[in-house]
Symmetry: C2
Subunit: 226 residues, 2 copies
DNA sequence: CATTTAAAAAATGTCGACAATTGTTGCGAA
DNA sequence: TTCGCAACAATTGTCGACATTTTTTAAATG
């Protein structure tokens, strides 16, 4: 009976935001398994809170698309089968390619510098680790910076708030945590080049290709595993 | 002091879902004005419910992107200034053009028939009303059918659950309720043609152009009104 | 008169208890 | 045995009260 590590956290003053983060991480890592029911009574007991803030946390998780809640029946963790994964990546392709197009116009030079720093770190890491892979956190840092550079809060929310938690969950639980292929680094460089050139169309197609390739890699691997 | 009409509704058994719909409609129509605070105490009194289900309704509205909630300070209705509107339409362009592409492949012939029925109704209406406009509800019916035809629940949710309420809110409050231009009907026909031909690329560009044109119309009109 | 500060008021966050609904168990009838 | 049904258990939904934080008010200070 592993308890969900609440750690020290607490930068989010309120209890419901605390347990939202705790449960979010437990779902992403799979500590709470896909498809399992989130029993209010049990969770409230385990986390040592009342059911009030717990219900609010559940609604928050619903906003991250991590759970599905139906009236009078409770909440369940989403199930990431192959179809859902591919749907997520198709949606990501549409949103993030548009974000790249906007970022080519709207990114500040400071943010472009940040992209370079992330890429350089990735390059150094791969060099030090026999070109093995890019660490997940570094990959997220790259895409986070790109998405924020679009200066479009609606797209940013659609991606970072409602889609990326699902992507992290999938990659963590299905051993796609670290993006393979040294090609990813090259693609990252091409993306930064397009943005640096302030070329929206090139930025859009490079990001689109980057995501489509990831999508197809996933599809191949999941079909092979069947 | 106009009270929010709770009507008979009640098909959603639970109180929180009831008042979610009530408040959603009040926000979309502007009965609750943009930027105004949603006071839990006052609303609970007005709607004659306790604060529990009201807080859940607020979280639901947050999931529709209709309000913004910050801890210890409460919830406010979003403000739709020009920048936000254009951000919404840029996001819609990315999502709905992808949805059209998918729909060209995945739509059933029955759903295509449904698109024809909607278009025929629009055609008849315009003919009967001196080519004035397409009624808002009929326009939403067209796009709803298109989006559902993509058979991608993630895109569908991103559009219908998280974006379209904002679009309805804007169009209702800024007199864009009825899509002007007889050109819209032609564009609808082109979209259906592309889907009928099972041509994803053509479907994508026709929908993209349809939305970009609407976006640019809005931008021109809002700038002229400044 | 403007600014600061402390008390008061109001609002949001949390809790425990009760209500209503759903799910389960076990008995009895076909 | 299988099916239906009633009693029971467990879960979710709702409520009112209390705790904590924020906002307002108003006095006091410079």
């Amino acid at each position: 009976m592993s308890m969900y590590s609440t750690t020290l956290a607490s930068h989010g003053s309120t209890i419901s935001s605390e347990i939202t983060e705790t449960l979010r991480d437990a779902i992403i890592t799979g500590e709470i398994t896909q498809g399992s029911k989130l029993s209010e009574t049990k969770l409230a007991r385990d986390l040592d809170v009342s059911r009030g803030p717990l219900r609010e946390a559940i609604r928050n998780l619903e906003g991250m698309n991590l759970i599905e809640h139906v009236a009078q029946q409770g909440a369940r963790v989403v199930t990431l089968n192959m179809q859902t994964i591919l749907e997520i990546y198709d949606t990501r392709e549409a949103l993030e390619s548009k974000a790249a197009s906007l970022a080519a116009t709207n990114m500040t030079s400071g943010e472009i510098d940040e992209l370079h720093r992330v890429i350089d770190a990735q390059s150094k890491f791969m060099h030090d680790n026999s070109n093995a892979f890019i660490p997940a956190e570094s990959d997220y840092a790259f895409h986070n910076t790109l998405i924020r550079g679009a200066k479009n809060n609606v797209i940013e929310s659609a991606l970072l708030r409602r889609l990326y938690h699902l992507i992290k969950m999938f990659r963590y639980q299905h051993d796609f945590a670290n993006t393979s292929t040294s090609n990813s680094l090259l693609e990252h460089r091409q993306i930064v080049y397009a943005i640096e050139q302030r070329d929206p169309e090139l930025a859009e197609v490079t990001v689109r290709r980057h995501i489509v390739r990831a999508r197809n890699r996933i599809e191949r691997r999941l079909k092979a595993a069947q």
